[in-house]
């Protein structure tokens, strides 16, 4: 009989031992009983994000958390402020020698976290690897006009462009990595940067721990440690904030959590317009959508206002086109088709689509008006918007089957042009070019709907090469109107940016881009 109990115990012990053999590689949590430094403030700020980074190498990022960590661990040649204007960072000054030459003068007093000095060679290495097709950086498309990079001395970098490229300075905020990364295969897991915080540990899908870089060139950060927690579910993340398990969270958030948090007097809710758009992408290669009348008719059946008000609870505001209100290129005069289903139906009827057989669905020449709707499952708001649009379409005689996939399949369908109408988003549009060029130019890498309009191409090319900002603004406004008229995208909403944080978090101002570099000046009162 002893043997029976023994066997059960044996099984459990074996399992416990295998758990013991692998402990998490993070250090024990620092005691929060202010033994070091001031007792008034905590020595750790806890941030909650929605996805675990895919890597900690900024060149290889495919999700936003990599950027957030990058904003603390690394620095760029410039840093963008709330107005998206480049400010000196690693570069103390720069000059545009001519339309295709940009020179940066670097600070001389900067050290990497491993003690080596920061020099122009690091900048050259970073951008060359980004441009290297075999390296696989998703950012490459933004930097293609860079023809060559010269380093006349240790603290000067010269970028020679193949053609004038107006947005280049804005794009120069990309984080710089050290040359030593070349021989360091573990760099993506153990980054070395020049930023205000040093990397300590990364427990996958759980937490990233950073500690202060006391020799940061702009002064040591105000709080000793930062911990970044991965909490995928929007509502769980908000609960974590309410419970005090994290001090700061920001978009993406579920709109229904916002009013409740606004009433919570322990939490500050900061709401502003953001740098993203959510849009309905019409595939111009799809048989049924090749006819502009069909696209226009459908466009009248999409109720942006209700979607914004009820599904997004006004967290995101109705859009009039692909240019953000935060952008200098924005204009209220850009017009889009309003919600008028009767008019939309009329347009479809006039185009030959009528319900000839009484089954409730429009048809023409024996074929039903079938439009496939799709989006990705990770975003519950888009899923709801999709269902809502499906309902509008169905009530007006359109057969609209829905398919939703997780991002991997969804994006590969988009790239293959295997869709009719999809709801997608675009983030981080810090220059109109970034949100328009590769999306609408013939042959553009993100031009999923295969739009090819020569006048639009001309506009987009001119937008890149013109240096006068008010000129560029006019060009992009024209482009936006054309995009609306031809129904390439119907931009649904402008994404809001919401930051929620513990009211004891001081010294931090949220930025619409979601950038958290200012955390280096923040601290949390006990």
């Amino acid at each position: 009989m002893k043997k029976r109990i023994l066997s059960l115990v044996l099984v459990v012990v074996i399992l416990v031992f295998s758990a013991a053999c692998g402990k998490t590689d993070s250090v024990p949590q620092p005691a929060e009983q202010g033994s070091s430094g001031t007792t008034e403030y905590r020595d750790t700020i806890k941030i909650g994000v929605d996805v675990d980074p895919n890597t900690l190498d900024p060149r290889l990022q495919t999700n936003v958390t990599v950027m957030r960590v990058g904003e603390l661990v690394f620095s760029g040649l410039v840093e963008l402020n709330e107005k998206l204007e480049p400010q000196p960072c690693l570069a103390e000054s720069w000059e545009q020698k001519d339309a295709t030459t940009l020179v940066f003068h670097l600070r001389k007093d900067i050290k990497w976290h491993d003690g080596n000095s920061f020099t122009a060679a690091d900048v050259k290495y970073t951008y060359e690897t980004i441009l290297d097709k075999d390296f696989g950086s998703a950012a490459r498309a933004r930097y293609v006009p860079i023809k060559e990079i010269l380093t006349p001395d240790d603290y000067t970098v010269q970028f020679n462009l193949s053609e004038p490229y107006a947005p280049i300075l804005t794009y120069m905020d990309h984080k710089i990595v050290p040359q030593s990364a070349k021989d360091n295969p573990g760099f993506a897991e153990n980054p070395v940067g020049t930023g205000p915080y040093k990397f300590v540990s990364w427990s996958k899908n759980s937490v990233i721990k950073l500690t202060a870089n006391d020799s940061y060139f702009d002064g040591a950060p105000a709080t000793k440690n930062i911990e970044i927690y991965t909490i995928p579910d929007n509502t769980t993340r908000v609960s974590a904030l309410e419970a005090g398990d994290v001090d700061f969270i920001h978009s993406p958030l579920s709109p229904q959590d916002i009013p409740r948090m606004k009433q919570n007097d322990k939490v500050v809710v900061h709401q502003t317009s953001g740098l993203g758009v959510t849009f309905v992408n019409f595939n111009h290669q799809s048989e049924i959508l090749k006819d502009r009348n069909v696209r226009t008719g459908l466009s009248y059946m999409i109720d942006k206002d209700t979607i914004s008000r009820d599904i997004y609870q006004s967290m995101d505001t109705p859009a009039n086109g692909p240019i953000l209100p935060a952008s200098w290129a924005y204009s209220e005069d850009i017009k889009d088709n309003p919600y008028d289903p009767a008019k939309g139906l009329q347009i479809l009827n006039d185009a030959g689509w009528k319900d000839t057989n009484g089954d409730g669905i429009l048809d023409k020449g024996g074929k039903k008006l079938t439009v496939k709707l799709s989006t990705h499952t990770e975003d519950p708001n888009r899923m709801q918007a999709l269902e809502f649009i499906q309902n509008s379409f169905a009530s007006n005689g359109i057969d609209a089957p829905v398919s939703t996939f997780e991002w991997a399949t969804f994006s590969s369908d988009l790239t293959a042009g295997n869709y009719d109408i999809s709801i997608v988003g675009l983030l981080n549009i810090n220059d109109p070019d970034r949100g328009l060029y590769i999306q609408f130019h013939t042959g553009g890498g993100q031009n999923y709907g295969k739009y090819s309009y020569p006048e639009l191409d001309t506009l987009l090319d001119k937008g890149r090469s013109t240096s006068d900002q008010s000129e560029r603004a006019k060009i992009y406004q024209q482009a936006a109107q054309m995009i609306n008229d031809e129904v390439m995208w119907k931009t649904l909403v402008f994404q809001g940016y919401i930051a929620m944080y513990n009211k004891n978090l001081e010294g931090y101002t949220p930025m619409p881009s979601g950038q958290i570099s200012a955390m280096r000046d923040a601290k949390v009162k006990r």
Partner: protein, 278 residues
């Protein structure tokens, strides 16, 4: 014989309670358009996220649709998915079990290796992989679940076959020259039927839970179809302001599965010779 079976069944508390629940669910599924107070697809944004009570007995969802109606229509979807998934699993599993048990030898070895492979790790992971591969929609969920649950039938049928094979009347049939197929279907299968039916009944419960799990992971039935699983999965997003959206579909799933489990247990009690002794 049959009336004795029925009598015993009706005396079994478990079977009766389970049976009643199952019948209610089936009625909901069949009579959905008749008994629902509202239309399950009409959106009514001003009425969204209303709590239970008033004109909406169980409240409304994020589009203002009546929850009770959605749940009644959901019964249809859940049952459909369950029945087809189990049917598929049964068809494949029973067939493989029959030939594995009857022919033995290499056929048996190969089939049982396959069973081992499928049972070698969490079934749900396999279902996830299958649905991800085929694309998330109702049809593929049924296919994936069918492809994943066949193994239990194979095992059960095979052991039934192995024990029945040795019976005298089988020997007799073989010596009189009856064909294999005839033997399998006329003699062996009917005797193995009881455990199959029990498994199928219990399997319906499992299938319904699996469908809701797949929906929870975003791999299930597509909108606007009203499956319990997807309603629950989406209701979770509103758990603080509208907890009833997660509670009621969960209750529906739980009660239905309970019904099938009780019915299955009752059937097992009634048909299993070992337990009828007491």
């Amino acid at each position: 014989m049959k009336s004795l079976f029925l009598k015993r069944l009706l005396n079994n508390k478990s079977a009766v309670i389970g049976g009643v629940i199952v019948i209610i669910v089936i009625m909901c599924a069949l009579l959905a358009p008749v008994i629902s107070p509202y239309d399950p697809y009409t959106m009514n944004m001003p009425d969204r996220l209303q709590g239970p009570g008033g004109s909406h007995l169980l409240g409304t969802d994020q589009f203002g649709r009546d929850l009770l109606t959605r749940l009644i229509y959901g019964a249809k979807v859940s049952l459909q998915v369950g029945v087809i998934a189990v049917g598929l699993a049964m068809f494949v599993g029973v067939f493989l079990g029959l030939i594995a048990g009857y022919y033995g030898g290499w056929t048996d070895k190969i089939i049982m290796r396959f069973v081992d492979i499928f049972l070698a790790f969490p079934i749900i992971l396999l279902a996830i992989a299958f649905v991800a591969a085929l694309g998330p929609n109702t049809r593929n969920v049924m296919l994936a679940l069918g492809m994943v649950y066949w193994t239990s039938y194979t095992r059960v049928v095979r052991s039934s076959v192995l024990s029945i094979k040795e019976e005298e009347y089988i020997m007799a049939a073989i010596t009189t020259g009856a064909s294999d197929i005839r033997i399998i279907f006329t003699y062996i299968l009917p005797n193995a039927l009881a455990p199959i039916i029990v498994m199928a009944t219990l399997g319906l419960g499992t299938a319904i839970i699996s469908e809701s799990t797949l929906s929870f992971l975003g791999l299930g039935v597509q909108p606007p179809t009203a499956s319990w699983g997807s309603t629950l999965a989406f209701g979770l997003k509103f758990i603080r302001d509208a907890p009833y959206l997660s509670i009621f579909p969960g209750l529906a799933i739980m009660l239905t599965v309970l019904g099938f489990n009780l019915l299955g247990n009752g059937l097992r009690d009634v048909t299993d010779p070992k337990l009828t002794r007491k």
